[in-house]
């Protein structure tokens, strides 16, 4: 596992990724979709955190995600620092049908920006897209037309948070932004691809194998990465073979 370097010709590096977000927004399901391409209705709640790994093949390198999937219940929040410690990337997940979850997501973003490793790549992910009738693009267009970001959703649509509202926030904070459905798989792969691409090379040089974390830690201090350049719902679609 840890010596996957040897078997893969391309340079391989580990990236620690942490999932944060309100309870039952689908953090574990996103991971399950990404790792096993599977979906379960009833997953045991995550106690503390679950740990999974999955590789992501980029044209020039292989990224091995070490995924820390944290418990969502509010009282577990104080444990989170233990898990996002040294994380190079984070998925902050909210539920498109639950406004409170975006608020919580914003709290997490603020927490990460202040407390996590500098330069951490954060992706804001609105999950449960399958419950929304309108597509993200359609919604976004609509939101742009009617200047308010908090417009009423369409009838029969469970969506409570418009794409524009979340996207505007993501751009403001310099986050990657996606809307996904762990249930049908929409957008899940893209999230991880985009993160893999957004991790600066400098951080990957001192990738995790063989006690290189110290170096990695140092390189991380090189400042915040400007994600605005490649932020956006599309993200780089190419390059991931997994």
């Amino acid at each position: 596992m840890s010596d996957s370097n040897a078997s893969v010709p391309k340079p391989s590096s580990s990236v620690k990724l942490v999932l944060l977000g309100e309870a039952a927004v689908g953090k574990s399901s996103l991971v399950l979709r990404f790792v096993n391409n599977d979906f379960q209705e009833n997953k045991e709640p995550t106690i503390g955190a679950a740990f999974l790994t999955q590789k992501c093949q980029l044209p020039t390198r292989t990224i091995k995600f070490e995924i820390w999937d944290t418990a969502g219940q509010e009282r577990f929040a104080s444990l989170a620092p233990m898990y996002y410690r040294n994380a190079q990337s984070a998925l902050v997940v909210y539920d498109l049908t639950k406004p409170s979850s975006l608020t919580k997501a914003k709290h997490w973003v603020a927490e990460l920006q202040r407390q996590a490793s500098p330069g951490i790549v954060i992706a804001l992910v609105g999950n449960k897209l399958d419950l929304c009738t309108a597509t993200g693009e359609h919604d976004a267009a609509e939101a742009e037309n009617s200047e308010t970001a908090t417009e009423e959703p369409q009838e029969g649509d469970a969506r409570k948070i418009t794409t524009k509202e979340a996207k505007d926030y993501a751009e403001e904070e310099g986050l990657l932004f996606f809307e996904t459905s762990a249930k049908d798989g929409t957008g899940v792969q893209e999230v991880f691809n985009a993160i893999a691409n957004a991790i600066p090379e400098t951080q990957l040089k001192g990738s995790r194998p063989a006690g290189a974390t110290g170096q990695a830690g140092q390189t991380r201090d090189e400042g915040r990465v400007n994600l605005n350049a490649n932020a956006g719902a599309g993200g780089p679609k190419d390059g991931c073979a997994c």
């Binding site: 580990s14 009833n42 219940q73 577990f76 444990l79 927490e111």
Partner: protein, 1140 residues
């Protein structure tokens, strides 16, 4: 950080075994708590008597010999154990282990731990016997002990009475070793306890009837049970979901049948359920794993939850029916997890299993709202439910949360985090090489071990093994979790030394757990060795190799780390909380928010602690035999401890304000504040109690006594936007942000106005105006903050400038005196510009006219009066100055007076609106500056930096005020600014004032009394309005009244009308003055006459205080004087005040 200081107070809160209950400085756990923990007794039990004793348990099949009667001369055969016998209210306990406290320790003070269990488990040989289970106690004649008791329990009763008796009554003997007196005392206590114990017999019957052991020993499904009830067919008592959905694991492999047989034998020899005696076999039988059907029952007995059920067998059903239908956040959370709790177990794929789980979890969340529901509880309870009934699982869960896993499932999960820290330190201690490696490879141990502890290994190990761990855990306590954890690392040590990252670490352990049933030594030649499973190996390593891990060591480590852990949690909570305070909070600096947060919780914490101490105090007074306070509540108060109060009552609000604003500090520590506060019913019944005997906490001594004032009550009410029981931090922050973060003076003015706009109709009535003025005096009575810039004049300055001299300074006047003047001017102007609720334009004019008269002509005199140097002058010879002023002295009885006093006429209610209020404030330079910066600066969230000045004292007013219109502002640069002298403006430095401090204090306190008096008289005025019109006689006058009136007039007359300028209607005012000069003269003349006559006296005694100080006589006299005359007289005073 304030928390550091609190840490001391929070000592031992972490570990309930260490919970102090006597007082905050006694950090050692009480004997009572240790006693309860040692024998796992309910909180109602206290150690009453204890004595050294020898327990003799008859050998199997020998006891029948004793059935006939007492054995003779101590020739008792059987296992003999020396130990200690304890008696509590309802229990008789015996253990061979050293108790965890010294025998001679006092009732509540504690001592060091001794003994292996350290007060956390019924280890050792002996028994924990509820007195109700004792059927008979006989005193045996012996020769080798002073006293020997033969105890017969109810065990075996049924069969003894039935014709098919297979076994006999349980009977064992105790030989007490002690003085005759000690023995007698003990026996007396026992007798008393036994008598009381009879009451619980029914409960015992109920519960024992639900025990599988009872069923087992009575021989099977059909059995005669109750001698009186006749033959009944017995169904097997409930023993968990496993009875329906099978128990996990292969019963044959688990050798369930032979275990059951062994337990059956054990029960026969040693009693069962409540009457179980612990002999060495007991511990062994538990170590090898409990048989499925007995598992729940033994868990209950060893964990002590059985005693909870004995106390109230129907508690669980009662709770369910009592709270049915109640919704809560916890229930939503529970609902989310019901389908995902041990989903692989068939029982939890069924509605039946899920229903049980739902009921137990919700019942607990109802009962313990502080814990509510924490993920992982679902897994633990689901596991329990496989072996226990709902009621059993419920009481086991209570014991888990309260005692065995302290703080694990709390809101902040501090117990979980703390035990992780403890675990890490134990790893470091016992496996330093591994620990070093983990550190080096940056692997965080707790990411792996946290779920072990939180879910008691249930979702880490295969269920069969997790239950084996639980078996020992319930008997031996939390240390088992640590021992198992350490053993896991030790066994996998070599592999773990090769890992470099979390991922491999986790996968190694995952693999290990999945192979627990395999041979530990598969390649061994020795067959016996080969047959040892990895799990057996784990148990051996855990309990042999790590036998040095004791509860005492864990308690010690917990105590060592708890501050760090709590600090971390609190920092996190603070960070999060401050970030989520809402948009209002953005108006305050991060520093201010942080300090406000600290202060807020500091106050709450102290209140909570005081409450605790108070409860203890009450209990002490109630006598030593009352149960100790519920330990959970002791833990409240500290944020990191989890469920702490989140809202602040009015009392706490006052304390908070007093810590950031000096005006909120009481003038003198007065308990009446508290009393009056309790009267007004704002407090919840359980709010901070005040008590004469209330123990003075160390902090309380230092604590400044907060004031209680109408203004503070209003502030509290205004901040309490949600209309809840108390203020949340967000309320407080928003409230303070409204003052400190106000964008401009207008906003502050509006804020202040809103405080008094009781019904939110944009109007403040007469009463409100008076209260506003009181508040202004209240706020300024300790001096004003910030650098006031005075443009060469007091409130009178306008008139000066009208007269052509911009730069006339008021000699000797202090800022505060001027502020007082401003406030009185404020009252006057408010009434002047107030809108009548029923407009009578004519009368309104009259008032204005009368009021306006005072603005001109007498300023110089008044200014002189105000100067402290001339204080004496005024006071001794008020008539000297007043006659000069043609308007001042007046007789209130003339008919014209009535119309002049329209402001007082209750028949003509009036109000001011925000624009009016704003105008009145802006019209006065001091008031304007007060609202511009002084009010905001009076709140010192961040400790004051010496020399810090107002951020914008010199800001050029963008608003049009009289001063900016008419006078060139004298800016501070021209005058030296003295920083830190908030009681004086820079002018006072020019004119030195003797004894200014005392002077100001008097001014301030007196000024407040004036305002109070004004209001009082208003009321009287309303009552006596009719009579006052009829006039009064000189006979009714007394000296004091005279003086007061004169004073009042002198005081208020000093304040000229300035706002008239501001409103460009000065001409108008002057005109009006002209009109009524006439009448005024008349009035004044009459008044002056009377004053002259009664001049002197008391004022002299008053000494050279400020003019305002004299006003204070007004209040004293008004309370002295009864009778109509005096009232009318008072009325006159008030009338004059408003005319001036």
């Amino acid at each position: 950080m304030f928390l550091n200081s609190l840490v001391q107070k929070a000592q031992s809160f972490i570990d309930p075994a260490l919970t102090p209950i006597t007082s905050s400085h006694d950090k050692r756990p009480s004997k009572a708590i240790l006693f309860r923990y040692q024998f796992r007794l309910p909180d109602s039990e206290n150690p009453l008597h204890e004595i050294t004793a020898e327990l003799t348990i008859p050998l199997p099949y020998k006891s029948s010999a004793g059935q006939g009667g007492p054995k003779s001369d101590g020739q008792i055969q059987g296992n003999i154990y020396a130990g200690k016998l304890h008696l509590s209210e309802q229990y008789l306990c015996f253990t061979t282990l050293n108790t965890s406290f010294h025998t001679n320790s006092t009732f509540q003070a504690s001592t060091a731990f001794t003994g292996q269990t350290h007060g956390t488990g019924p280890a050792g040989n002996g028994f924990t016997l509820p007195l109700c289970a004792v059927r008979k106690v006989e005193r045996l004649p012996t020769h080798n002990a002073l006293c020997a008791l033969a105890i017969t329990t109810w065990n075996g009763t049924a069969s003894a009475k039935s014709s098919t008796a297979h076994y006999d009554m349980q009977r064992f003997t105790l030989q007490l070793a002690g003085s005759r007196q000690a023995c007698d005392t003990f026996c007396d206590g026992l007798k008393k306890g036994l008598r009381n114990g009879v009451k619980q017999l029914d409960n015992l019957r109920t519960i024992a009837g639900q025990c599988y052991s009872e069923y087992l020993l009575s021989g099977g499904p059909v059995k005669s049970k109750d001698g009186e009830g006749g033959e009944i067919i017995r169904e097997a008592p409930e023993a968990g979901l496993g009875m329906v959905f099978r128990y996990p694991g292969d019963p044959r492999k688990l050798r369930d049948r032979s275990k059951m047989r062994l337990w059956g034998e054990y029960f026969r020899d040693n009693g069962r359920n409540a009457m179980l005696l612990r002999q060495p076999t007991f511990h062994k039988l538990i170590r090898v794993g409990l048989p499925n059907r007995l598992r729940g029952e033994i868990w209950e007995i060893t964990a002590g939850s059985f005693w909870l059920r004995l106390q109230n067998p129907n508690l669980y059903t009662q709770i369910l029916s009592k709270f049915t239908g109640r919704e809560s956040l916890a229930i939503d959370e529970i609902e989310k997890d019901l389908n995902r709790s041990l989903p692989e177990y068939p029982g939890f794929q069924s509605e039946e299993g899920i229903g049980r789980l739902r009921r137990v979890l919700t019942a607990y969340s109802w009962v313990n709202e502080e814990v509510g529901y924490c993920q992982a509880m679902n897994i633990v309870v689901a596991a329990l439910l496989i072996y226990t009934s709902e009621a059993q699982a419920f009481s086991l869960l209570s014991v888990l949360c309260d005692r065995l896993l302290p703080g694990y499932y709390s809101q902040t999960m501090y117990g979980t985090i703390l035990d992780q820290r403890v675990f890490e330190s134990l790893v470091e201690k016992t496996m330093p090489i591994l620990w070093e490696h983990l550190i080096k490879s940056d692997v965080q141990l707790s990411v792996v071990s946290l779920p072990w502890f939180l879910s008691l290994y249930i979702n880490s190990m295969p269920l069969v093994f997790a239950f084996r761990v639980l078996d020992v855990f319930f008997l031996e306590g939390p240390k088992v979790l640590f021992q198992i954890g350490l053993a896991i690392l030790r066994i996998n040590g070599e592999e773990l030394l090769d890992i470099n990252d979390d991922g491999t670490f986790i996968s190694i352990l995952k693999t290990y757990f999945s192979k627990l049933d395999e041979s530990a030594h598969p390649k061994s030649e020795n067959e016996k060795l080969r047959s040892i499973t990895r799990f057996q190996e784990l148990m051996v390593v855990a309990f042999k190799e790590f036998s040095q891990i004791t509860q005492g060591m864990i308690s010690e480590q917990r105590a060592k780390h708890k501050n760090d852990v709590l600090d971390n949690i609190e920092n996190f909570a603070k960070r999060t909380s401050i970030r989520n305070l809402g948009p209002e909070s953005k108006r305050l600096s991060a520093d201010d928010l942080g300090r406000l947060y600290d202060r807020f919780y500091e106050v709450l914490y102290e209140q909570e602690r005081d409450l605790q101490l108070h409860r203890i105090e009450i209990q002490k007074m109630a006598g030593p035999r009352t149960p100790d306070p519920v330990q959970n509540s002791v833990e409240m108060g500290r944020v990191g401890m989890g469920p702490s109060p989140e809202t602040m009552n009015y009392d706490g609000f006052r304390i908070l304000l007093a810590s950031i604003a000096k005006w909120a500090v009481a003038d003198a520590p007065r308990t009446p504040f508290d009393i009056s506060f309790e009267k007004d019913g704002r407090l919840a019944p359980n709010a901070t109690p005040r008590h004469p005997e209330f123990p003075t906490s160390p902090l309380r001594g230092k604590r400044i006594e907060p004031a209680d004032h109408d203004f503070m009550q209003r502030l509290y009410g205004y901040w309490n936007k949600d209309d809840k029981d108390g203020l949340s931090l967000q309320n407080v922050v928003a409230g303070i942000a409204g003052i400190k973060g106000a964008r401009d003076v207008m906003e502050t003015i509006a804020y202040f106005f809103a405080l008094y706009d009781d019904n939110k109709d944009g109007k403040v009535d007469r009463e409100g105006i008076l209260r506003m003025s009181e508040a202004l005096l209240f706020l300024s009575r300790r001096g004003l903050e910030g650098n006031f810039t005075l443009i060469g004049s007091s409130p009178n300055g306008m008139d000066e400038s009208i007269n052509g001299s911009d730069q006339i300074t008021i000699s000797g006047s202090t800022l505060n005196e001027k502020f007082l003047s401003s406030v009185s001017a404020f009252i006057r102007r408010c009434f002047e510009y107030a809108d009548p609720d029923n407009p009578h334009s004519g009368q309104q004019n009259d008032i204005s006219t009368d009021l306006g008269q005072f603005s001109i002509g007498e300023d110089e005199d008044d200014l002189l009066d105000l100067s402290p140097n001339e204080e004496k002058d005024i006071q001794e010879t008020p008539t000297k100055t007043t006659p000069k002023s043609p308007f001042l002295p007046q007789t209130p009885q003339t008919p014209s007076k009535q119309s002049a006093n329209l402001a007082l006429d209750p028949a003509n209610p009036l109000h001011i609106t925000l624009p009016t209020f704003r105008m009145v404030i802006l019209a006065d330079e001091l008031l304007q500056q007060f609202f511009e910066f002084s009010f905001a600066e009076s709140l010192h969230i961040t400790p004051q930096v010496p020399g810090r000045t107002s951020s914008f004292p010199l800001q050029t007013p963008t608003l049009t005020t009289f001063s900016s219109l008419n006078t060139p502002r004298i800016f501070a640069p021209s005058t030296p600014t003295i920083p830190n002298l908030h009681n004086t403006d820079h002018q006072s430095s020019i004119v030195p004032v003797k004894g200014i401090r005392g002077l100001l204090d008097n001014i301030v306190s007196d000024g407040m009394r004036v305002a109070a008096e004004v209001r009082k008289r208003m009321d009287e005025a309303q009552k006596d309005l009719d009579r006052s019109a009829t006039g009064r006689t000189d006979d009714e006058y007394d000296d004091e009244d005279e003086d007061q009136d004169a004073r009042l007039q002198g005081f208020f007359a000093r304040v000229p009308s300035q706002n008239s300028n501001n409103n460009n209607n000065n001409i108008d005012t002057e005109k009006r003055i002209g009109v009524s000069d006439h009448d005024r003269d008349l009035l004044d003349g009459a008044e002056v006459g009377s004053i002259k006559e009664h001049d002197g006296g008391i004022l002299v005694e008053r000494g050279p205080n400020s003019a305002v100080a004299a006003l204070d006589l007004l209040s004293s006299s008004s309370s002295d004087n009864g009778g109509d005359g005096a009232q009318r007289r008072d009325l006159g005073g008030v009338e004059k005040m408003f005319e001036s």
